[in-house]
């Protein structure tokens, strides 16, 4: 049995197309998920238990159920319910964003609560409001501490986007599977996919490392 480089080259344009979609899905889900995660994280630390309750529920549900189940529900249920038809890419972004938001909310909450209470007191004692204190004092410091766990989450999200092949979103893994079934091959398509994913996560961690270093004071 020989390794068939030729079928990898034949599929290269499709793998490239898939990779671009994987990047697109991941980047948009990271952005939307981070934004939602911030809101949910802030919601969870509201002192009023009644107001904080929906945010608790959100995190519990999206963290407590498998992403694959969420993908199916959103693809075959939620998206058709609102638009009348299925749309794998839209469902993919929604599922990945909502799922990541639950984890990112916890990262934000932990980051915010890790900032010494004295920072808030120092800021409030100067007459700054709660919101100003959050924006100018707590969040910038919390964000720095959140970069390593956020990086983890982004890497997980990027890899989890491969699950979207089950709803036929034409991302990287989808084309890998297509190649595998056309030629009845295992190593060529899946190793090719694995290498591309590895390459993408390496770039992502490089970018995050740079960001972390740039935000260091002193």
């Amino acid at each position: 049995m020989s390794f068939r480089w030729d079928i990898i080259f034949e599929y290269a344009p499709f793998l490239l197309k898939g990779t671009l979609l994987t990047i697109g899905l991941s980047v948009s889900s990271i952005l939307i998920g981070t934004f939602l995660g911030l809101l949910i994280g802030l919601g969870k630390i509201i002192r009023n238990k009644v107001l904080a309750f929906p945010f608790y529920c959100y995190v519990t549900v999206f963290r407590g159920t498998p992403l694959l189940v969420q993908i199916f529900l959103i693809h075959f249920g939620v998206v058709p319910f609102f638009t009348g038809e299925t749309n794998a890419v839209a469902a993919g972004v929604i599922a990945l964003s909502l799922n990541a938001a639950a984890y990112i909310a916890e990262i934000f909450r932990a980051g915010i609560q890790s900032i010494d209470k004295g920072q808030t007191e120092g800021s409030r004692s100067l007459g700054m409001t709660h919101a100003q204190t959050m924006i100018h004092v707590v969040l910038p410091q919390a964000f720095k501490r959140m970069i390593p766990p956020l990086g983890n989450e982004f890497i997980v999200l990027l890899k989890d986007s491969s699950l979207l092949c089950v709803i036929a979103a034409p991302e990287l893994m989808y084309w890998g599977k297509a190649m595998g079934s056309q030629y009845f091959k295992v190593w060529e398509p899946y190793l090719a996919c694995a290498f591309i994913y590895l390459f993408l996560t390496l770039i992502l961690s490089f970018v995050l490392n740079r960001l972390e270093r740039r935000l260091k004071t002193e």
């Binding site: 120092g122 409030r124 100067l126 007459g127 700054m128 100003q132 410091q141 004071t217």
Partner: protein, 240 residues
């Protein structure tokens, strides 16, 4: 200037302040002393309501700041506070620390804030540290920046919560020096401290607290040389 009436504060079932009454006049320097756990820091933190009070009233320039309708953020712009652990913002430079609140709360221009900030840094003798980050400063320097930061809001009253307790002994002097200067300029000050020398030299009045009560208050010479209460005597015999 400040009038505290029947102030009570509990943490859960633990009553830390039991009916405190006090008055601070304009330009007066009031020093609060007492053993740890006596409630003196809590008393100070109640004045600008970093602690929500359990009962009583606090009037600042005649305004009942415990009234729910009063905007406490507005009150706090008039009452500066300096903390034991400085609470400088580590992600901002020294000058940015000082400029932040004037920019965001007073809405002054950047030029104005920076000019005022540099003035204050000169006053506390740290103009050359404007662009440094707090982490690179010594404790004494940090505390002087914290004082400058509070002064940037041009408060009418300054609260000091054990400002020298977290400092190495050789740095206590430089911070006390700045505070003395401030007192000389006529700032109204309430100072919680263990520095009895400062209390004697700078204080107009000394309040001795224990177990949530004000036990005794008087001018420094009377408190230190002629204490009336047994508990005051016992405390002073240990610290002097």
């Amino acid at each position: 200037m400040i009038k505290v009436e029947n102030l009570k504060k509990s943490f859960g079932n633990n009553e830390v302040l039991k009916n405190i009454n006090a008055i601070v006049s304009p330009q007066e320097v009031v020093v609060v002393i007492g053993p740890s756990g006596s409630g003196k820091s809590t008393f100070l933190r109640c004045i600008n309501q970093l602690e929500t009070i359990t009962g009583g009233h606090i009037y600042i320039e005649g305004l009942d700041t415990t009234d729910k309708k009063v905007n406490i953020n507005k009150v706090r712009t008039e009452v500066g506070m300096v903390f034991q652990h400085f609470n400088l913002f580590p992600h901002k430079t020294v000058l940015e620390n000082i400029m932040l609140a004037p920019l965001k709360v007073r809405k002054v221009s950047k030029e104005q804030a920076s000019q005022k900030g540099m003035e204050l840094l000169k006053k506390v003798g740290l103009a050359e540290k404007a662009k440094a980050y707090p982490d690179s400063l010594s404790g004494g320097q940090k505390q002087r920046v914290a004082i400058a930061r509070a002064l940037a809001m041009e408060p009418k009253i300054m609260l000091f919560d054990e400002p020298t307790s977290a400092l190495d002994p050789e740095m206590v002097g430089e911070v006390l020096e700045v505070m003395k200067q401030l007192a000389k300029e006529g700032m109204t000050m309430v100072v919680v401290t263990h520095e009895m020398g400062f209390a004697k030299e700078v204080g107009d009045r000394v309040i001795f607290m224990d177990e949530g009560y004000i036990i005794e208050e008087n001018i420094p010479s009377e408190i230190f040389d002629n204490p009336q209460q047994e508990r005051t005597k016992a405390f002073l015999s240990k610290v002097l």
